[in-house]
């Protein structure tokens, strides 16, 4: 099987861009990625595109050129972008193609996501009583985790503070002003224990990645950023997920529940032959501050409860032992669902190329990890190596 390399990256700034559709932002990202790879649209042999609320991605062929290219649309909750990338790398690994595109974009209305019960095979009453709200799950998950493992609300604040501080140096981020820890902690609660700075917001943006076989990457003369693993998993038994009217009772409930993230992560480490201790930089799904904390453990980087000390010591800062969410993550970039997982990989490529500017991880990083999680229990992980 061929190694898969990422040879081109492009992004449309996240946040709010009035006057540009989600699709426009996706097309912008594709053009930037093609320019970065030094290729033209007719060379692209296939594409996987993800969008949750901004229309079918394949309609962008109208803008990019009617080459007859194979173009498959992907919807997979918040893991849609990761799923598009997973599918794209499989197409190259199989030997069927040697140059293709993974693109994601979105444009969500302001305010919380507005999911409808039927979309998740839930009865209408579940929405009528006000439980079709993603933030409730995320808050309830961290609330239990905090009670089990002694994570403080201050640690939630430290994660958010880091996100906004890192984003100052990320041109594609949305919220690029530092926010003081006290302001974060004293802001109005949205869903206890989270204040308004501790949740990301639905947003807009587009990301495109050009993938190539190793042979093709060498032809293009690009530095070899290898996709050593890309995994996508659904939830295991007894997990606790978004939009869950009920959860299984288990015999020993003093440990965290199994999750799709845990198995996607373990499989990625196995597939790549790279361990958590070998990772130089990580982008972990941080749709809320506690998610970053729980995902540090779910992805094998620390034991449950150690996060309190890690954060106090600044180990996930850009200059720390494991920099996490170097562009501010979802907290600072917002979450355009279709694009969000691909943004993490974009940021990792920037870091591995040494192009991070003010947010560049020092020490010439060679390995990078990304993790995305979505409803109702889907997770996608990638490991890159230079």
């Amino acid at each position: 099987m061929s190694d898969v390399c990422i040879v081109g990256i492009g992004i449309h700034k996240f946040g709010r861009t009035d006057g540009l559709s989600g699709l426009d932002q996706g097309v912008h990202a594709v053009r930037e990625a093609m320019a970065d790879a030094g290729i033209d649209w007719p060379q692209v042999q296939f594409a996987y595109g993800s969008s949750d609320a901004a229309g079918n991605p394949d309609t962008m062929v109208d803008r990019l050129g009617l080459t007859g290219v194979q173009f498959i649309n992907v919807r997979n909750g918040c893991a849609a972008g990761g799923s598009a990338l997973f599918s794209a790398q499989m197409a190259i690994k199989s030997g069927e193609f040697d140059l293709g595109l993974a693109v994601g974009f979105d444009k969500h209305p302001r305010g919380a996501f507005n999911a409808l019960p039927a979309e998740y095979n839930l009865p209408d009453w579940y929405g009528e009583v006000g439980q079709m709200v993603t933030t409730q799950f995320f808050a309830a998950k961290i609330m239990r985790y905090m009670s089990l493992f002694g994570i403080s609300q201050k640690s939630l604040g430290l994660v958010a503070e880091k996100a906004f501080r890192n984003a100052v140096h990320a041109p594609h981020a949305w919220r690029r002003q530092p926010v003081a820890l006290e302001e974060i902690l004293e802001a109005p609660l949205v869903s206890d224990p989270y204040t308004k700075y501790m949740f990301c917001s639905p947003a807009e943006g587009g990301v495109a990645l050009i993938l190539a076989s190793e042979k093709k990457a060498r032809e293009l003369g690009k530095p070899l950023i290898r996709l050593k693993a890309a995994t996508m998993r659904t939830r295991p038994p007894h997990s606790f997920e978004v939009f869950a009217p009920s959860v299984d009772v288990v015999a020993d409930d003093t440990r965290p529940r199994p999750t799709a993230s845990r198995i996607a992560s373990a499989d990625a480490f196995t597939a790549s032959g790279i361990g958590p201790g070998d990772i130089d930089v990580a982008q972990l799904q941080d749709t809320e501050a506690g998610a970053e904390i729980m995902h540090m453990a779910e992805n094998g980087f620390c034991a449950d409860g150690e996060q309190e000390q890690w954060l106090a010591e600044g180990r996930t800062e850009i200059g720390g032992a494991l920099p996490v969410n170097t562009d501010g993550g979802c907290l600072a970039c917002g979450e355009p669902i279709g694009a969000s997982g691909l943004r993490q990989v974009y940021e990792n490529v920037v870091q591995l190329r040494g192009d991070g500017g003010g947010r560049q991880v020092p020490g010439d990083p060679r390995t990078a990890y990304s993790h995305v999680y979505g409803a109702p229990g889907v997770s996608a992980v990638t490991i890159l190596e230079r």
Partner: protein, 146 residues
């Protein structure tokens, strides 16, 4: 306020069929997978699941406070919004269910506290509004019964 709901005499209704038993006081109806025995809530199709009345007593597994009005649709509650506690309640040996936790000050809510099933009004200000799955702290419930 919620104390007289279970005493009957008013024209009140569950927000959906098949959620509560007809007993007084009622219980939640879960579904027991006819093949695996796994209990879920609410009860899916009776073709695949056997309806079972769930325990009235449980403990708080986790919670949060819903501090903003959810979007409508699908939310069917009143325009005038007041925050409420979203609870996950463990019914021992059965299942953990998501429901509202009523009659409690937010600062008094704690993981592990004992709670009792007691359907609540979707709109607290309208005694005729639909009944939704809810629990109350055991202490408060005992006072109401006394």
């Amino acid at each position: 306020m919620t104390g007289d709901i279970n005493r009957g005499g008013r024209d009140m209704r569950a927000i959906a069929q098949g959620l509560f038993t007809d007993e007084t006081p009622p219980r939640l109806i879960g579904g027991k997978d006819r093949q695996t025995g796994r209990i879920v809530f609410p009860c899916p199709s009776t073709m695949t699941h056997e309806p079972v009345a769930l325990s009235r007593e449980g403990t708080l597994w986790s919670y949060t406070v819903q501090r903003f009005r959810p979007k409508s649709p699908p939310y069917a509650g009143p325009e005038a919004f007041a925050p409420w506690v979203v609870a996950y309640v463990e019914l021992p040996g059965e299942v953990i269910v998501e429901a509202r936790l009523d009659d409690v000050a937010f600062e008094d809510v704690m993981v592990g506290m004992p709670v009792l099933f007691q359907p609540g009004l979707l709109d607290f200000s309208d005694p005729a509004s639909a009944l939704v799955p809810a629990f109350v702290p055991v202490r408060v419930s005992a006072e109401l019964v006394a």
